[in-house]
C-alpha cells in the first residue's frame, strides 16, 4: 500500500509575505493518474516545488512510500523515486538528445571516480548498459531518430517529449509532470495523453498539473483542485466537474478553460 503512494498533510508554504499554500492535504495512490488543476497562480507549481525539494515547506508533512521527504534536497527526492518535470522547457540545451537521456540515467549508474580513472571492465559494462537503456527510453517516447541532434534544435513538441524521456530515464516510481501538454497542438496533445497512459501502464504513478480540461478529464483517475493556495475539491473527474466551488473558482477567477 505504501509502494509509491504520496501523502501530503497540512502543507503550508509561505514566502515573501505571501501564503502560497495553506493547509493542503491529499494523497496520490500508487498506480493512479492524478491531476492537479486550478486557476493561474493557485499554487500548483509551488506544490510541486515543495514536494520535490525545490522549496522548503513552512509547515506540514510530505510522505512518499511511507518515508518523510519534506525538506529533502531535490536530488535526494529523486533518489527515492519521485521525479518531476518543469513548467518551462527544461533541457540540457547544448548537448545531443542522446546525451540528454544519458544524463537522466545518472541514478541508474554507480561508477565512482576511482573505477572510472582505472577504466575497469565493470565501468565499461555499465556504460554499455546505460546506452542500451537510453535507446529504450528514447524509443518508448518516440524520439530515437533525433539522438544525434542538439536538444536546442528540436521542434517544441519533441523538446517536451525529450523532457519526459529525461525524467523517465531516472526510473521514477512516481512522475510529477508540470503542464506536459502546454503549447501543444491537438494532435500533439492526443499523443501526449496516450504516452501518459503508457507510462501509467508501466506501473509508474503519474501526478500532473494541467490546464487542458479535455486532457485532464480524459486521463485522470482522480482530480485535485487548488485555488488561492487551498484545496477546494478532490474526487473523480465527474465529481469535480460538477462541484460548485470549482465552477465558481474558474468562472470567478482567471482560469484557463473552465471545466466543460
Amino acid at each position: 500500500m505504501t509502494g509509491s503512494t504520496l501523502e501530503v498533510s497540512a502543507l503550508d508554504v509561505r514566502f515573501g509575505g505571501v501564503q502560497a499554500l495553506a493547509g493542503v492535504s491529499f494523497g496520490v495512490p500508487e498506480g493512479a493518474v492524478v491531476s492537479l488543476i486550478g486557476p493561474n497562480g493557485a499554487g500548483k507549481t509551488t506544490a510541486f516545488n515543495a514536494i520535490t525539494g525545490y522549496l522548503a515547506p513552512t509547515a506540514g508533512t510530505v510522505t512518499f512510500a511511507g518515508e518523510p521527504i519534506a525538506g529533502l534536497r531535490p536530488h535526494q527526492v529523486a533518489r527515492r523515486g519521485l521525479v518531476r518535470t518543469f513548467q518551462k522547457t527544461s533541457l540540457f540545451a547544448q548537448v545531443t538528445v542522446g546525451e540528454n537521456v544519458l544524463m537522466g540515467l545518472h541514478l541508474r549508474g554507480a561508477s565512482r571516480l576511482g573505477a572510472i580513472l582505472l577504466d575497469l571492465r565493470r565501468v565499461r559494462a555499465e556504460e554499455a548498459r546505460l546506452r542500451e537503456a537510453a535507446e529504450e527510453v528514447m524509443a518508448f517516447v518516440g524520439i530515437a531518430h533525433r539522438r544525434e541532434e542538439l536538444a536546442a534544435s528540436l521542434p517544441y513538441g519533441e523538446q517536451r517529449l525529450l523532457e519526459l524521456a529525461i525524467a523517465l530515464a531516472a526510473r521514477p516510481r512516481m512522475l510529477l509532470l508540470d503542464e506536459p501538454a502546454s503549447g501543444m497542438n491537438p494532435a500533439e496533445k492526443e499523443s501526449t495523453m496516450r504516452l501518459i497512459g503508457r507510462i501509467r501502464d508501466q506501473g509508474i504513478t503519474v501526478f500532473l498539473v494541467e490546464h487542458d480540461m479535455r486532457l485532464v478529464m480524459g486521463i485522470s483517475d482522480r482530480v485535485l483542485v487548488l485555488n488561492h493556495g487551498q484545496l477546494i475539491a478532490q474526487g473523480s473527474p465527474a465529481e469535480v466537474r460538477r462541484d460548485p466551488a470549482v465552477i465558481q473558482a474558474y468562472l470567478g477567477g482567471e482560469g484557463a478553460g473552465a471545466p466543460a
Binding site: H75, R79, M103
Partner: protein, 306 residues
C-alpha cells in the same frame, strides 16, 4: 607520428630555450586541463586556480627545504595538499553561485597569497624558498642521479601532461563527466534526476586542484625557487585565457590554448610590457567574437567545408 616527435624532443631539439618553453607549455597544459574541468565542464567561473598551483608548489618546496624529502614524495604530497584545499574552498564556495562564487574563489587566492607573503616563519615571505633540489632517480641502493639538463624535466612534464589529459578524458566521457555537464547546462534539471550538485561540484574542484598542485610541485623543483608570486591573479587569468581561447568544454581546447599562450608571450618578447594589455584585449575580443574558442571554431570550419 606527432607522439614520436614529442617524445623525442630532447633528442632532436637542441635549442635549450625552446625545450624550456615546451616544459612551460606542458605545465600550463596541466593547469589549463584542470581548470577546464571547472570552467568548461561544470561551468563554474572558479578564479582562484593559481592558489592550488601555489599550494602544490609550496608544499613540495617546504618538504624539500625543511624536511629533505625528495620530489617523489613532494609530488604526491603537493597533489594531496592542493586537493584538500580544493575540498575546503569547494565546500565553502559551492554554497553559493554566480558572482558570489567567483568572489569567494578570488578572495581565497588572495588570502593565501597574503599569508605566504606575511607568514615569514613558514614561507620566508617575499624572499621565498630558494634552493629546491631537483628530482633524482635512484639506482640500486647507493647511487642516485639528479635530473640534469632539461631533457629529464621535459619527459617528466610530458608524462604528467599526458596523464592529466588522460584523466580528464576518462572523467569527461563518464557518468561523472555527464553530471558535470548536466550541472553546467541546467542545474535544476540535473538535480531533478538525482545529481547531487554540491558533492559533484566539490569533486570537480578537488580533482582540478590536485592536478594543479602536481603541476606546482614540478614547477618548484624545475625552477628551484618558489615565492608568493605563484599566487598572483595574473597567473589565474593566463590559465583562464588558455582555456577560453582554446575552447572551454572540449578536451583539446586547453591543450591548444596552453601551447599558443605560452608561445605568444615569447613572440611578443620584444614588447613584453604589452603582454598583459594584449591579454586583456584578447579576452575581451574572444568573449565577444569567438566565445567558443579556437578548437570548436576550427572544427566547425572543417565540418562546414565542402
Amino acid at each position: 607520428m606527432l607522439a614520436a616527435a614529442l617524445v623525442g624532443v630532447p633528442v632532436w631539439l637542441t635549442n635549450q630555450y625552446l625545450v624550456h618553453l615546451l616544459i612551460l607549455a606542458g605545465l600550463f597544459t596541466i593547469l589549463a586541463v584542470s581548470l577546464n574541468l571547472l570552467l568548461g565542464y561544470t561551468g563554474q567561473l572558479s578564479l582562484g586556480h593559481a592558489a592550488f598551483f601555489g599550494i602544490g608548489a609550496y608544499t613540495s618546496a617546504l618538504l624539500d627545504v625543511h624536511l629533505g624529502l625528495s620530489f617523489w614524495v613532494g609530488l604526491p604530497a603537493a597533489a594531496v595538499a592542493a586537493g584538500l584545499s580544493g575540498l575546503l574552498i569547494g565546500r565553502l564556495a559551492f554554497k553559493l553561485r554566480g558572482a558570489y562564487f567567483v568572489l569567494v574563489t578570488i578572495s581565497f587566492a588572495e588570502v593565501v597569497r597574503l599569508v605566504s607573503l606575511n607568514w615569514m616563519e613558514l614561507t620566508q615571505g617575499p624572499l621565498g624558498l630558494p634552493g629546491i633540489r631537483p628530482p633524482s632517480i635512484r639506482l640500486g641502493t647507493m647511487a642516485s642521479i639528479p635530473f640534469h639538463g632539461k631533457g629529464a624535466y621535459y619527459w617528466l612534464v610530458l608524462a604528467l601532461a599526458a596523464l592529466s589529459y588522460g584523466i580528464a578524458s576518462r572523467v569527461v566521457r563518464s557518468r561523472i563527466g555527464r553530471a558535470f555537464v548536466a550541472l553546467r547546462e541546467n542545474e535544476a534539471l540535473a538535480e531533478s534526476v538525482g545529481v547531487d550538485a554540491f558533492r559533484t561540484l566539490v569533486l570537480a574542484t578537488v580533482l582540478a586542484a590536485a592536478m594543479a598542485g602536481a603541476a606546482g610541485s614540478c614547477y618548484a623543483h624545475y625552477v628551484s625557487f618558489v615565492g608568493p608570486e605563484v599566487f598572483l591573479f595574473s597567473y589565474t587569468i593566463t590559465m583562464v585565457i588558455m582555456v577560453i581561447a582554446g575552447g572551454k568544454g572540449t578536451l583539446l581546447g586547453p591543450v591548444a590554448g596552453a601551447v599558443i599562450f605560452t608561445a605568444v608571450p615569447e613572440v611578443l618578447r620584444e614588447a613584453q610590457q604589452f603582454q598583459m594589455t594584449v591579454y586583456g584585449a584578447i579576452l575581451i575580443l574572444l568573449v565577444i567574437f569567438m566565445p567558443r574558442g579556437i578548437v570548436p571554431y576550427l572544427k566547425e570550419r572543417r565540418a562546414g567545408a565542402p
